[in-house]
């Protein structure tokens, strides 16, 4: 499926932009995670990577739609 991914923090640097169009096999969050690992191996060096769908943390079994707002959440460090 095709999707647009918002990238923040260090993932913005790794993907090369705040919004990136991405095409992948499958339609689950876990499929996206695997596809990202393949195309951007540097992501594997992060302490963690959560994926948010429509402003909520989503687990790898979550099904994606092309209209979803998808965001990469590397380790947070607010405060």
């Amino acid at each position: 499926m095709k999707c647009t991914i918002k990238a923040f923090g260090i993932t913005k640097d790794i993907l090369g932009g705040r919004e990136v169009n991405f095409e992948m096999d499958g339609n689950k969050v876990g499929d996206l995670r695997n596809a990202l690992h393949g195309r951007f191996p540097e992501i594997k060096s992060l302490n963690s990577l959560f994926i948010a769908v429509n402003n909520n943390y989503a687990d790898d079994s979550h099904l994606l739609n092309e209209t979803d707002e998808i965001a990469l959440i590397p380790p947070v460090s607010g405060g």
Binding site: F8, G9, I10, A71, P75, V76, S77, G78, G79
Partner: protein
């Protein structure tokens, strides 16, 4: 009030927003920018947020705290953009009938905001920069 802002935080306004006439305690946490990290001088910090989700996550944390400790008022303001050492990065204020609830709720909110809200900071040193906590430390005691 939950605010993500590029402007300097008005601490008194956050406190006033959280205050309540029924409260016997107002508790405030002010998070500030430290001038060192990893034994190096911090020149400035760059904060960024996924704003809509950050507000939603902070709201969940506040709702949990308000229910658990019977808060009478609350406010959270988090700064984004470029901050220099000494500047205020985050303010949490809560009011409650008694001091213990106010301390516990304030600590719960700041701890969980730091753990859950999609907000990031990059430390900029004289000789480089680094997204905080993004990767395992290269060495335990680097210079």
């Amino acid at each position: 009030m939950i605010k993500i802002t590029e402007k300097a935080i008005d601490v008194q306004k956050v406190i006033d927003t959280a205050s309540s006439l029924g409260a016997g305690a107002v508790n405030v946490f002010i998070g500030t920018v430290r001038n060192t990290a990893h034994q190096k001088n911090v020149v400035w910090l760059e904060y960024e947020a996924y704003e809509a989700m950050a507000v939603a996550e902070i709201r969940k944390v506040i709702d949990e705290a308000a229910a658990k400790w019977g808060l009478l008022g609350w406010a959270v303001s988090h700064r984004i953009g470029t901050l220099k050492p000494g500047e205020v990065a985050v303010v949490v204020a809560v009011s409650a009938p008694h001091r213990k609830e106010s301390f516990d709720a304030c600590q719960y909110i700041i701890d969980n905001v730091k753990a859950k809200a999609p907000i990031w900071k990059k430390e900029v040193f004289e000789d480089g920069e680094e997204w905080v906590d993004a990767r395992p430390m290269a060495t335990a005691h680097d210079n």
